[in-house]
Symmetry: C2
Subunit: 279 residues, 2 copies
Amino acid sequence: MKLNSEEWFTEVYPDDGCALSLELSEKLHEEQTAWQKLEVYQTTGFGRLMLLDGCIMLTSRDNFIYHEMMTHPVLCMHPAPENVLIIGGGDCGCLREVLKYPSIKHVHQVDLDERVTWASMKYFPELCESNNDPRAELSYTDGVAFIEQAESASYDIIIVDSTDPVGQARRLYTEEFYRACYTGLSDNGILVAQSESPLFHKDLILSMRSRMADAGFNDTATLFFPQCTYPSGWWSASVAFKADRPSNYRSVDIETKYYNNAIHQAAQAMPQFMQDTDK
Amino acid sequence: MKLNSEEWFTEVYPDDGCALSLELSEKLHEEQTAWQKLEVYQTTGFGRLMLLDGCIMLTSRDNFIYHEMMTHPVLCMHPAPENVLIIGGGDCGCLREVLKYPSIKHVHQVDLDERVTWASMKYFPELCESNNDPRAELSYTDGVAFIEQAESASYDIIIVDSTDPVGQARRLYTEEFYRACYTGLSDNGILVAQSESPLFHKDLILSMRSRMADAGFNDTATLFFPQCTYPSGWWSASVAFKADRPSNYRSVDIETKYYNNAIHQAAQAMPQFMQDTDK
């Protein structure tokens, strides 16, 4: 079946010779923001779709896995998280998940592009339902400069919910940035950063973890989870611990769609092909 | 970027409004067999690609996850597997994995279409490297009739490595078929069947498990794993136990690329949205 390019959005992953297409029913928004091209579509199978510079950021249907896995594992590993910094994450999906925890006192979301949050409020209101929580603070500025200037030991958890390591976002994958996060974290602090596809970007994941270690973190881990609309359908988040990697975690007692206690453990299982190159 | 349909193969999943495309460099084979259209291509990013009736069966790059997850978990759960029946599986990838276990005395692979095995021997020789093992027997006949006529308690493990539940393969998803498998299995026997995408086919997975229970099996489970080139990039295998579900499993001590002891446990973690509908 040939795709009619007017009715389908296709994202090509040229390095891996594959492409994912979603069938569109309506264009809802398109603009060139100060930072990037922002588009929102209605799809036939995935609810709404947000693109940034032609890359899938999220769909209504499957974003729950990504947002839950970027937040709940580290929130349940930290003994008593109170202050959280989200770098990127302008769609507010991580913010919403973090604010589900009563222990949280303050979440600061720092994204470059205010228009992403505007589009999310308009087209993905379910992700923005906690934006007016008095514990939430939203800023629109450069996340790297922000953490470099932050007071030390300000945050229990830092979540890097960024785009791929190209352009502006490249700086979010450097040892220098991880060093600034290390300084900004409190003693039991945990950093979590999205780390691309285990199948397509194994070397990136391993190099992120060694840069995190080089930046001073005591231990690192990777979480694995499905993510249908990201390259290869399989995704990861890499985690760095300022103190020892916790052997226990608190049971989650909030409403989730993907994450639960069994998934918490399961996500940490490293496929053999990654262990074999991790030596 | 628009895909030129001459250089890309696209599989559309119309019920879910999405499509996966693989970039092709060469057509290696095309024929109409007695049962289906069989094509083999060289791709730019995924090695070789086999299609049956226009659906992706396997690629060189990512079939290892599927074949390992269809075999090793159940082989390591069974206390002492000796005799295995593979229904479908004409590409011989499951056969190869099963024969890695020294305890195995006989594996019978029963696929309708001899041409699939011919194509696999020619274009995926790595999957067929154990076809001449004296413990392997390959037959080309109807798997449903085969198991219905089999002597009772003949097999320790039955692996249903089938295509999607359409056409001929639909009969492999019925309670009647599962009942024949139950009879064909020995006392500690285990049935495992590929069960589609957790994201796209949740109801199928749940109905397969209830049909397995209705057929007499004592317990059921589902294994979850990534599979880039199948719909949604996330796949499953459902398992039925004739006796109690084993609480222990033997450590795997053979060479694998995805499966290991941690993955064995992890694959059994059920996402919350499936638990919520499993009541």
